[in-house]
């Protein structure tokens, strides 16, 4: 029976480092990176750190409709050239490195809105050359938004807007579960724009809290939010969204983010030492997610974040 081995189905499970190198390669071709999740929830932060550790730079970063800690950390690490994100904020305070870099002219932050980015992702996901948008009026954003165009509506005769496809080179997502084939299961109530981004992107890499047996997926296919068809690689990363939340598994680490923002604010007003030390300690220093977990507080700290996720 030699040579007759039946071919087997390939697993998409890989390591954080290999996933980062895969992304890095694609982003060198075309630097358009898209980040899933929303503000302090389900952000693919471990993937972002691993990408930063490869020395990625010159990135054009998309997210919809808003981002905070991760885009700010990427800017702090010097990896970002342009930001295509409608809202950039830590919600309870501004993003210090975003603000500093834009004010210093080091990063271009485009004025956009959610309908433009979502519409562009819709056009790409649908495979059509543009998406009509007809709900934007009176804002100065319309004077600057680089992705939006005015068109004559062939149906209504009115002037409306349209946005062309946004097709990210790479999208990073964080989901709670996946099977080894890359079928993702978001168990949080909100799945943000993750499904849309996955369907719009050339490459999708996901971190998950855990890989589940095939049967878990097959027994409840309606729970699969992103079919493996759209997913190129999946990485099991415990607490891979930290310091953002991965509900229902663990809550956001607001204290960690606040402490980071304090360092960012210090850097903004002239003292970068603390910020540099933060980056060394959390981004470039850790050899593994295990090291990172220790660096941010270890098992006890995460047991607390897990308890907090259940405390609602």
């Amino acid at each position: 029976m030699e040579g007759q081995t039946k071919p087997t189905r390939r697993s998409k499970v890989t390591s954080l480092q290999d996933a980062a190198l895969l992304a890095r390669g694609a982003l060198e071709e075309r630097p358009e990176l898209c980040l899933g999740g929303l503000f302090k929830q389900s952000r693919p932060v471990a993937l972002v750190r691993a990408l930063l550790a490869t020395g990625a730079d010159g990135l054009h970063v998309y997210s919809s409709p808003g981002a905070g800690y991760d885009i700010d950390l990427m800017i702090a690490s010097g990896a970002v050239e342009q930001v295509f994100i409608p809202g950039v904020t830590l919600e309870n305070r501004l993003c210090p490195n975003f603000r500093r870099a834009v004010e210093a002219g080091q990063v271009t932050a485009h004025a956009l809105d959610a309908l433009t980015v979502v519409g562009g992702l819709m056009a790409a996901a649908h495979g059509v050359p543009f998406q009509p948008v007809d709900a934007l009026r009176g804002s100065d954003v319309l004077k600057y938004n680089p992705l939006l165009r005015e068109i004559d509506c062939p149906f209504s005769g009115r002037r409306i807007h349209a946005v062309g496809p946004i097709r990210p080179s790479v999208t990073f997502l964080h989901a709670q579960e996946a099977d080894r084939w890359g079928n993702l299961r978001h168990l949080s109530t909100m799945v943000y724009a993750d499904q849309l981004m996955a369907r719009a992107s050339d490459m999708v890499i996901a971190s998950v809290d855990r890989i589940v047996p095939d049967e878990v997926v097959l027994d409840d296919p309606s729970r699969v939010t992103v079919p493996s068809h759209y997913v190129d690689a999946v990485v099991e990363v415990p607490y891979g969204a930290h310091p953002t939340a991965s509900f229902p598994n663990y809550a956001m680490d607001e204290k960690h983010i606040d402490a980071y923002a304090d360092l960012g604010d210090a850097a903004r007003t002239g003292d970068r030492k603390g910020l540099d030390a933060y980056i060394t300690r959390h981004v470039t220093g850790p050899k593994s997610q295990g090291d990172y977990i220790e660096a941010v507080g270890g098992a006890r700290h995460f047991a607390w974040l897990e308890a907090e996720a259940r405390n609602r």
């Binding site: 501004l94 932050a109 959610a114 909100m190 799945v191 229902p248 996720a309």
Partner: protein, 255 residues
């Protein structure tokens, strides 16, 4: 009620009273005060008010959270949608929405992009904003910043992120803003509305402990105060009891 009414509690009560039964609306980005107002309205007089239009319907949080983008706040709700549905809601509009920004001007325009400089060379860069559509696709919106100073209430915003009444009725018409736009401005100090002729902001009432002169001093444009300005109707016993016992169980609005 033993504890004094806090400014945020006063804001919540004013806003809640303006929401009607059967309406559909959402809280917007700075959700604490709006969500409390919506919850209070639903408890008191608007059980058929639907919280919707931001990808989730009728959340039942156990306490107030500063952000609604938190599964602890909305994990228990009646339905979750995606950004594809949000795209539709944004076009179809709501009955009401809430906004606040870095700067608010005399016409109710809101700036979240930059203070000083230009967009691409700003003196101070703000967060930007996700949703620019509800301000005009919705029937009306409320402006409810949790601070009221001469720095965030200015004659003219440096950048119109969220259009209010632009520079008045003509500009609004020219821009195709056909709905009501900002109806009320509710701050920790006062309630303001807009002169129906000029669409300029004016003082409607001052909260307990504030005088019209206080409010003018903390406002960067002329409120054209003439005659008596009433005091904002304080929370009733029942409003305060329901708010504290069933909505703000952790006392966040008094912190």
């Amino acid at each position: 009620m033993s504890a004094a009414v806090s400014p945020l509690e006063q804001m919540v009560v004013v806003l809640a009273r303006d929401l009607a039964d059967g309406e559909l609306g959402a809280a917007g980005a700075a959700a604490l005060v709006p969500m409390a107002a919506i919850a209070l309205a639903r408890e008191l007089h608007a059980p058929n008010l639907t919280v919707g239009g931001e990808m989730f319907f009728n959340p039942e949080p156990g306490r107030l959270y500063p952000s609604m983008l938190d599964d602890r706040a909305l994990g228990r709700c009646e339905a979750a949608e995606t950004f594809i549905e949000l795209f539709g809601h944004s076009h179809h509009g709501l009955d009401f929405f809430f906004h606040s920004g870095l700067q608010h001007d005399v016409y109710g325009n809101i700036n979240l992009h930059h203070v000083g400089g230009t967009l691409h060379a700003p003196k101070m860069r703000g967060p930007g904003a996700a949703n620019l559509s509800y301000c005009h696709t919705s029937t009306r919106f409320y402006i409810c910043p949790t601070a009221h100073t001469a720095r965030n209430f200015v004659e003219k915003v440096d950048f119109v992120t969220i259009p209010g009444h632009l520079s008045g009725p003509e500009a609004k018409r020219a821009a195709g803003l056909t709905n009501e736009g900002p109806r009320l401005v509710v701050t920790p100090r006062a309630v303001l509305d807009f002169d129906p002729t000029t669409l300029r902001m004016r003082l409607k009432s001052v909260h307990e402990g504030n005088t019209p002169e206080d409010v003018q001093r903390h406002t960067g444009f002329d409120l054209a105060i003439s005659g008596d300005v009433p005091q904002t109707w304080p929370p009733t016993e029942e409003e305060l009891r329901v708010l504290r016992q069933r909505i703000d169980t952790s006392g966040t609005l008094r912190a």
